[in-house]
Subunit: 115 residues, 2 copies
Protein backbone atom coordinates (compact mmCIF):
# COMPACT_ATOMS: atom_id res chain seq x y z
CA UNK A 1 0.00 0.00 0.00
CA UNK A 2 2.25 2.73 -1.27
CA UNK A 3 -0.15 4.70 -3.46
CA UNK A 4 -0.48 8.43 -3.12
CA UNK A 5 -3.49 8.42 -0.80
CA UNK A 6 -2.30 5.76 1.61
CA UNK A 7 1.17 7.25 1.87
CA UNK A 8 -0.23 10.75 2.26
CA UNK A 9 -2.49 9.69 5.09
CA UNK A 10 0.23 7.96 7.10
CA UNK A 11 0.91 9.97 10.20
CA UNK A 12 4.25 11.79 10.25
CA UNK A 13 6.45 10.84 13.16
CA UNK A 14 8.38 13.32 15.24
CA UNK A 15 11.82 13.03 13.72
CA UNK A 16 14.96 13.24 15.83
CA UNK A 17 18.62 13.12 15.01
CA UNK A 18 19.48 9.42 14.76
CA UNK A 19 16.09 8.44 13.34
CA UNK A 20 16.48 5.85 10.57
CA UNK A 21 16.99 6.92 6.99
CA UNK A 22 14.99 5.07 4.37
CA UNK A 23 16.94 2.40 2.51
CA UNK A 24 17.98 2.62 -1.13
CA UNK A 25 15.45 -0.11 -1.85
CA UNK A 26 12.65 1.94 -0.27
CA UNK A 27 13.73 5.00 -2.29
CA UNK A 28 13.67 2.93 -5.46
CA UNK A 29 10.17 1.68 -4.67
CA UNK A 30 8.99 5.22 -3.96
CA UNK A 31 10.39 6.57 -7.24
CA UNK A 32 8.80 3.74 -9.18
CA UNK A 33 5.41 4.68 -7.77
CA UNK A 34 5.93 8.46 -7.79
CA UNK A 35 7.68 8.79 -11.12
CA UNK A 36 7.43 12.60 -11.26
CA UNK A 37 9.72 12.81 -8.24
CA UNK A 38 13.47 12.69 -8.69
CA UNK A 39 16.23 11.75 -6.31
CA UNK A 40 18.85 14.47 -5.90
CA UNK A 41 22.06 14.22 -3.94
CA UNK A 42 23.83 17.35 -2.70
CA UNK A 43 26.88 17.17 -0.47
CA UNK A 44 26.06 13.52 0.21
CA UNK A 45 22.49 14.34 1.30
CA UNK A 46 19.71 12.56 -0.57
CA UNK A 47 16.64 14.65 -1.37
CA UNK A 48 13.33 14.28 -3.19
CA UNK A 49 12.72 16.89 -5.92
CA UNK A 50 9.75 17.69 -8.15
CA UNK A 51 8.74 20.55 -10.42
CA UNK A 52 5.06 21.45 -10.72
CA UNK A 53 3.80 23.58 -13.63
CA UNK A 54 1.12 26.27 -13.37
CA UNK A 55 -0.58 28.64 -15.77
CA UNK A 56 0.88 31.78 -14.23
CA UNK A 57 2.76 33.23 -11.28
CA UNK A 58 -0.28 33.70 -9.04
CA UNK A 59 -1.25 30.02 -9.35
CA UNK A 60 2.30 28.99 -8.55
CA UNK A 61 2.39 31.23 -5.47
CA UNK A 62 -0.99 29.88 -4.33
CA UNK A 63 0.46 26.36 -4.42
CA UNK A 64 3.54 27.54 -2.52
CA UNK A 65 1.22 28.77 0.21
CA UNK A 66 -0.67 25.50 0.34
CA UNK A 67 2.63 23.67 0.75
CA UNK A 68 3.62 26.22 3.39
CA UNK A 69 0.48 25.54 5.41
CA UNK A 70 1.18 21.78 5.19
CA UNK A 71 4.79 22.33 6.25
CA UNK A 72 3.76 24.38 9.27
CA UNK A 73 1.14 21.84 10.28
CA UNK A 74 3.71 19.03 10.16
CA UNK A 75 6.61 21.18 11.38
CA UNK A 76 8.61 19.75 8.49
CA UNK A 77 9.66 22.27 5.88
CA UNK A 78 10.76 21.78 2.29
CA UNK A 79 12.70 24.14 0.07
CA UNK A 80 10.15 25.80 -2.23
CA UNK A 81 11.33 27.52 -5.39
CA UNK A 82 8.56 29.71 -6.81
CA UNK A 83 8.91 31.26 -10.24
CA UNK A 84 6.61 32.23 -13.09
CA UNK A 85 4.40 29.20 -13.77
CA UNK A 86 6.51 26.81 -11.73
CA UNK A 87 7.08 25.54 -8.20
CA UNK A 88 9.97 23.20 -7.41
CA UNK A 89 9.84 21.31 -4.10
CA UNK A 90 12.75 19.67 -2.33
CA UNK A 91 11.99 17.46 0.66
CA UNK A 92 14.61 15.95 2.95
CA UNK A 93 15.19 15.72 6.68
CA UNK A 94 17.85 18.12 7.86
CA UNK A 95 18.26 16.41 11.25
CA UNK A 96 19.29 13.09 9.76
CA UNK A 97 21.06 14.48 6.68
CA UNK A 98 18.92 12.54 4.25
CA UNK A 99 15.55 10.97 3.61
CA UNK A 100 13.19 9.78 6.34
CA UNK A 101 9.89 8.08 5.59
CA UNK A 102 8.26 11.40 6.54
CA UNK A 103 9.71 12.83 3.32
CA UNK A 104 7.87 10.22 1.25
CA UNK A 105 4.68 11.12 3.13
CA UNK A 106 5.23 14.84 2.58
CA UNK A 107 5.93 14.34 -1.13
CA UNK A 108 2.69 12.37 -1.45
CA UNK A 109 0.78 15.03 0.48
CA UNK A 110 2.23 17.76 -1.73
CA UNK A 111 0.84 15.97 -4.78
CA UNK A 112 -2.60 15.88 -3.17
CA UNK A 113 -2.49 19.67 -2.70
CA UNK A 114 -2.84 20.01 -6.46
CA UNK A 115 -6.25 18.39 -6.51
Amino acid sequence: MNDVTSLATEECEACKAGAPKVSDKEIEAFLLQFSDWQLLEKDGIKMLYKEYSFKDFASALAFTNRVGILAEALQHHPDILTSWGKVALTWYTHKIGGLHRNDFRCAARSDLLLT
Copy 2:
Protein backbone atom coordinates in the same frame (compact mmCIF):
# COMPACT_ATOMS: atom_id res chain seq x y z
CA MET B 1 20.83 59.33 -6.49
CA ASN B 2 21.07 55.58 -6.37
CA ASP B 3 20.07 54.95 -2.77
CA VAL B 4 17.47 52.38 -1.88
CA THR B 5 14.52 54.76 -1.69
CA SER B 6 15.18 56.68 -4.88
CA LEU B 7 15.85 53.54 -6.89
CA ALA B 8 12.84 51.81 -5.41
CA THR B 9 10.54 54.67 -6.34
CA GLU B 10 11.66 54.85 -9.96
CA GLU B 11 8.85 53.69 -12.17
CA CYS B 12 9.41 50.35 -13.86
CA GLU B 13 9.25 50.50 -17.64
CA ALA B 14 7.42 47.96 -19.77
CA CYS B 15 10.27 45.76 -20.88
CA LYS B 16 10.38 44.24 -24.36
CA ALA B 17 12.82 41.97 -26.10
CA GLY B 18 15.57 44.22 -27.39
CA ALA B 19 15.37 46.63 -24.44
CA PRO B 20 18.84 47.68 -23.29
CA LYS B 21 20.72 45.68 -20.71
CA VAL B 22 22.47 47.61 -17.98
CA SER B 23 26.21 48.03 -18.52
CA ASP B 24 28.89 46.33 -16.44
CA LYS B 25 29.70 49.76 -15.00
CA GLU B 26 26.09 50.24 -13.88
CA ILE B 27 26.09 46.75 -12.32
CA GLU B 28 29.30 47.58 -10.47
CA ALA B 29 27.79 50.83 -9.15
CA PHE B 30 24.65 48.98 -8.04
CA LEU B 31 26.61 46.30 -6.18
CA LEU B 32 28.73 48.93 -4.47
CA GLN B 33 25.58 50.57 -3.12
CA PHE B 34 23.61 47.36 -2.49
CA SER B 35 26.39 45.26 -1.08
CA ASP B 36 24.08 42.45 0.15
CA TRP B 37 23.20 41.68 -3.46
CA GLN B 38 25.43 39.43 -5.53
CA LEU B 39 25.86 39.10 -9.24
CA LEU B 40 25.28 35.57 -10.53
CA GLU B 41 25.80 34.34 -14.05
CA LYS B 42 24.03 31.20 -15.29
CA ASP B 43 24.29 30.09 -18.91
CA GLY B 44 25.60 33.53 -19.81
CA ILE B 45 22.63 35.30 -18.14
CA LYS B 46 23.49 37.86 -15.45
CA MET B 47 21.22 37.87 -12.41
CA LEU B 48 20.93 39.67 -9.06
CA TYR B 49 20.81 37.37 -6.03
CA LYS B 50 20.25 37.97 -2.33
CA GLU B 51 19.49 35.81 0.71
CA TYR B 52 17.30 37.24 3.47
CA SER B 53 17.23 35.64 6.93
CA PHE B 54 14.15 35.23 9.11
CA LYS B 55 13.40 33.84 12.55
CA ASP B 56 11.28 30.95 11.26
CA PHE B 57 9.50 29.47 8.26
CA ALA B 58 6.29 31.48 8.66
CA SER B 59 8.18 34.78 8.58
CA ALA B 60 10.07 33.67 5.48
CA LEU B 61 6.84 32.66 3.74
CA ALA B 62 5.23 35.98 4.69
CA PHE B 63 8.12 37.79 2.97
CA THR B 64 7.74 35.53 -0.08
CA ASN B 65 4.13 36.66 -0.30
CA ARG B 66 5.06 40.34 -0.03
CA VAL B 67 7.53 39.85 -2.87
CA GLY B 68 4.84 37.98 -4.81
CA ILE B 69 2.41 40.88 -4.48
CA LEU B 70 5.12 43.28 -5.68
CA ALA B 71 5.92 40.98 -8.61
CA GLU B 72 2.30 40.77 -9.67
CA ALA B 73 1.87 44.54 -9.39
CA LEU B 74 4.89 45.11 -11.63
CA GLN B 75 4.29 42.07 -13.81
CA HIS B 76 7.95 41.23 -13.31
CA HIS B 77 8.63 38.03 -11.42
CA PRO B 78 11.75 36.85 -9.60
CA ASP B 79 12.69 33.34 -8.60
CA ILE B 80 11.89 33.01 -4.89
CA LEU B 81 13.45 30.20 -2.89
CA THR B 82 11.66 29.83 0.45
CA SER B 83 13.08 27.58 3.13
CA TRP B 84 13.15 27.49 6.94
CA GLY B 85 14.30 30.94 8.07
CA LYS B 86 15.47 32.02 4.63
CA VAL B 87 14.29 33.53 1.37
CA ALA B 88 16.62 33.81 -1.62
CA LEU B 89 15.59 36.14 -4.44
CA THR B 90 16.90 36.13 -7.99
CA TRP B 91 15.95 39.01 -10.27
CA TYR B 92 16.71 39.18 -13.99
CA THR B 93 14.77 39.94 -17.14
CA HIS B 94 13.94 36.82 -19.09
CA LYS B 95 13.03 38.71 -22.27
CA ILE B 96 16.46 40.27 -22.65
CA GLY B 97 18.45 37.39 -21.16
CA GLY B 98 20.06 39.55 -18.51
CA LEU B 99 19.72 42.59 -16.29
CA HIS B 100 17.53 45.57 -17.12
CA ARG B 101 17.38 48.65 -14.91
CA ASN B 102 13.98 47.31 -13.76
CA ASP B 103 15.89 44.56 -11.93
CA PHE B 104 17.82 47.15 -9.92
CA ARG B 105 14.51 48.82 -9.07
CA CYS B 106 12.92 45.50 -8.08
CA ALA B 107 15.91 44.56 -5.92
CA ALA B 108 15.67 47.90 -4.12
CA ARG B 109 11.90 47.50 -3.68
CA SER B 110 12.41 43.98 -2.28
CA ASP B 111 14.71 45.42 0.38
CA LEU B 112 12.01 47.93 1.34
CA LEU B 113 9.52 45.09 1.89
CA LEU B 114 11.53 44.11 4.95
CA THR B 115 10.79 47.34 6.75
